[in-house]
């Protein structure tokens, strides 16, 4: 029974993570629900949920090209927003009732400007300014920006987002994080009941469907995983994937086909998202969210003053999950991850932890080279 549950839920999540308009999202819309897309994870889903809106994390992992977007962006821009914007120009994001762009990096920020002036007609579009330093004064600033977003959502959608509704949403999303953390924790085992590739699909699905339904599915999945450990399988290496993206299984799948297992990740769609929980005490939910994003979870490499925290988190993962090596991945032309991975590699080396850095396109032209490099890396760290 539990194996069946695991299989059916993972199949559902796989389908959701590989499409845009999935059945759960379609049902939400048929029932009159409105969907708001967002870039990137610093944009709190809680505010949208509190307004009765469904958050949808922007991605383009099914994209096949950037021909249309190339009119707006050049190849000196990261390919992730280019693929997403291309899909928008093709009408693939017409199901969105709104879009919030968090001003994280330079290229993502200018998706906002281009989207506004492109033929894509999204009724609501908002640029959320985010701080790029982790510190107390930045919490107040971000709290103010969240208040502006709340007001803009209320005005545009004709809704009221009360503090009570935000607190409810905080509790709902905290539950999501706890369930995701529980599933991640199962991977500490010598015989992880879920592969790295499957985990990617679990995480991507979470940002693509109504949260209540997702939480129910996660609970079922967690229970079935607890009783489905296969102790006959052994692996050559236990890996950690760190870097941008993380909404596809390219790296994990290649590694796992070579008898390694990805037991954790610190990626933009993956482990970084479910870190910790938002404090549920205090009077002001926006302040609680701002503190969480700015002080507790400053995981975007664009955020200064927090590298040591990010390094400590990664070193802790390596220890807890008995990781043999780190694969760092970054998109070409990403200046921020370039510096972050350069530093991480240096620091891991001094700790005696092997690592490799892969520069890739969001949708790579060729898998062969990536595959060869991963294979060579696994061979050097094989247990």
């Amino acid at each position: 029974m539990s194996t069946n549950n695991k299989t059916s839920i993972l199949e559902k999540f796989t389908h959701i993570s590989e499409t845009l308009v999935n059945p759960s999202l379609a049902r939400f819309r048929e029932d009159g629900g409105r969907v708001v897309g967002y870039f990137c994870s610093v944009m709190p889903e809680e505010l949208l949920i509190a307004g009765g809106l469904m958050p949808f994390r922007m991605r383009g992992n099914m994209s096949r090209g950037t021909d249309n977007a190339d009119v707006y962006f050049t190849s000196w821009n990261c390919s992730f927003p280019r693929h997403c914007f291309n899909l928008a120009l093709l009408g693939e994001f017409n199901f969105l009732d709104g879009l919030v762009v968090a001003g994280t990096c330079d290229t993502i920020r200018f998706v906002f400007d281009n989207w506004k002036k492109s033929p894509v007609k999204t009724p609501f579009i908002h640029l959320l300014n985010v701080p790029h330093v982790s510190g107390e004064p930045m919490v107040d600033y971000f709290r103010g920006e969240l208040a502006k977003l709340r007001l803009a959502l209320e005005t545009s959608f004709g809704i009221t987002i009360t503090d009570d509704k935000v607190w409810d949403a905080v509790r709902l999303c905290n539950r999501t994080r706890e369930l995701q953390q529980a599933i991640y924790a199962l991977r500490k085992s010598d015989h992880p009941p879920i592969s790295g590739s499957e985990m990617v699909q679990v995480m991507v699905a979470g940002a693509s469907m109504p949260k209540e339904e997702y939480n129910d599915d996660l609970e079922t999945l967690l229970n079935s995983l607890k009783s489905s450990i296969d102790d006959s399988r052994t692996y050559d290496a236990r890996l950690l994937v760190v870097g941008s993206g993380g909404d596809d299984t390219i790296i994990t799948q290649i590694a796992e086909e070579m008898n390694a297992v990805v037991v954790n990740d610190h990626t933009c769609f993956g482990g970084k998202v479910k870190y910790g929980t938002i404090s549920e005490t205090g009077g002001d939910p926006l302040e609680a969210i701002a503190k969480y994003q700015v002080l507790d979870r400053p995981f975007c490499p664009k955020i200064g003053g927090a590298y040591q925290l990010r390094l400590d988190v990664i070193l802790n993962l390596i220890k807890e999950y008995r990781i043999d090596g780190m694969i760092g991945q970054r998109m070409g032309c990403c200046d921020s991850w370039s510096g972050e991975l350069y530093s991480l590699r240096t620091d891991l080396k001094s700790e005696g932890i092997p690592s490799m850095i892969l520069e890739r396109d969001y949708i790579p032209d060729s898998i062969g080279q990536i595959s060869t490099r991963i294979q060579a890396f696994i061979e050097t760290i094989r247990r």
């Binding site: 000196w76 990096c105 920020r109 002036k117 330093v133 004064p137 600033y141 664009k302 990403c334 370039s338």
Partner: protein, 410 residues
């Protein structure tokens, strides 16, 4: 001295001062006996001048390293570090200087996320650089917004930064002295604006890039060497005097038969000496403005202590080249283009789209559209302003010549 001799002298003085901005200058600055601070990017000179410390700027030192006979070797060495090879080469060079261990240990480090991802990344490398582990650090969060609340937010950080500088260096921040410096800074801003007005004359009286040189002396050199600050005012006054005289006599740039005026709205390349003089001489094409000669100087409101810091924050966020264009909505860039073309009678707009500038690469279509709407011929280049090997000055020249021809300007 005749006009050209005066201009040559001003130019020579500027070029001599610019040596202070190179990696060698940074090392010299550390030995001047003043408290020595290194910043990741552009900095307001008013604070170092008022508090009398020397502030060197990493990205400027990096950019200076991309010029001269060793440029290609330097860039290749920096690329070998293994960070993003399409990173802006001025930042890559600065990162190389850091990691190669050839920089002096400063008394303090100030980093910020402005103007772009690359400089933000450089600042983080500086924060993590182990030989500087014990150096006090202050990190500024430059907001992307441009509302009064954003200026107040950044102004508060500047205030906190001056407190930290005082603590580290022992130099007091005295408001009276700071007001005097701000008033002098406003005077320099007025002189720059006056020069911009004179530049509008047809034919353009002097090489418009002199505005950039004046701006860099008043801003970067003065931050490095506070004693230069008042000299910058005098340098600008002498520039105005000679320019006024040339306008009065309707004289253009020496040896140039002006036919075309164009806007180059990006950084002036490190290889500009191989391009712009040739465009002037062979085509009569004069570059009326670039990011740094635009130098949109916002005056500092010295009416109260309360206002002064948010006003200086506004000056930094909206008046600093690159920060103005890369940190804020594309509308600001597009509006600048239309306004400059109109006010300075530019016949065409050239968008260099430096390969390391993620911002301009992301809004070149918006700039092109606004130019088309306003009847301004538009050329997209896609060059590397710090590495002439990517698109050589000869190729850029040919492209621009063809562009001017097909636009009916030649």
């Amino acid at each position: 001295m005749n006009h050209q001799e005066i201009l040559n002298q001003l130019d020579a003085e500027a070029n001599d001062l610019f040596k202070e901005l190179t990696i060698y200058g940074v090392n010299d600055n550390a030995r001047k006996g003043l408290p020595f601070i290194i910043a990741s990017d552009d900095a307001l000179p008013e604070i170092p001048v008022a508090m009398n410390f020397s502030l060197s700027i990493m990205t400027v030192a990096g950019a200076m390293g991309t010029a001269g006979p060793e440029a290609a070797t330097n860039i290749d060495r920096a690329t070998e570090m293994g960070i993003e090879n399409r990173l802006c080469n001025s930042v890559k060079m600065a990162a190389y200087y850091l990691e190669a261990g050839i920089l002096p240990v400063p008394d303090m480090i100030i980093t910020t996320n402005s103007p772009c991802d690359a400089v933000d990344m450089l600042g983080q490398l500086m924060d993590k650089y182990k030989p500087w582990a014990d150096v006090p650090k202050f990190r500024l969060d430059s907001p992307h917004g441009h509302e009064p609340s954003d200026f107040a937010y950044f102004g508060e950080q500047l205030r906190a930064c001056t407190r930290e500088i005082s603590r580290v260096t022992g130099r007091k921040f005295e408001m009276d002295r700071f007001l005097d410096v701000c008033n002098e800074s406003n005077k320099q801003a007025r002189l720059i604006q006056e020069f911009q007005e004179l530049k509008r004359a047809v034919p353009c009286p002097v090489d418009p890039d002199m505005a950039r040189k004046g701006w860099e002396i008043a801003r970067w050199i003065a931050a490095t060497d506070p004693a230069v600050f008042p000299k910058a005012t005098r340098w600008l006054e002498r520039l105005i005097e000679v320019t006024e005289d040339k306008v009065k006599h309707q004289l253009g740039i020496e040896g140039v038969d002006e036919k075309i005026r164009f806007l180059w709205y990006d950084v002036s390349p490190s290889w500009s000496s191989k391009l712009f003089p040739r465009l002037q001489k062979e085509l009569g094409a004069v570059c009326m403005m670039n990011y740094y000669s635009f130098a949109n100087w916002t005056p500092i409101d010295t009416s109260s202590e309360e206002r002064i810091m948010s006003s200086i924050a506004e000056k930094y966020l909206m008046g600093t080249p690159m920060t103005r264009q890369a940190m804020h909505p594309a509308d600001i860039y597009c509006e600048d283009v239309v306004r400059i073309c109109k006010e300075f009678k530019c016949d065409a707009m050239v968008m260099p789209c430096h390969i390391g500038h993620r911002d301009t690469n992301a809004y070149h279509k918006l700039a092109k559209d606004v130019c088309r709407e306003n009847g301004i011929p538009f050329l997209f280049l896609g060059c590397d302003v710090w590495d002439e090997r990517y698109m050589t000055p000869e190729v850029v020249f040919d492209r621009m010549k063809t562009f001017f021809e097909v636009s009916g300007l030649l």
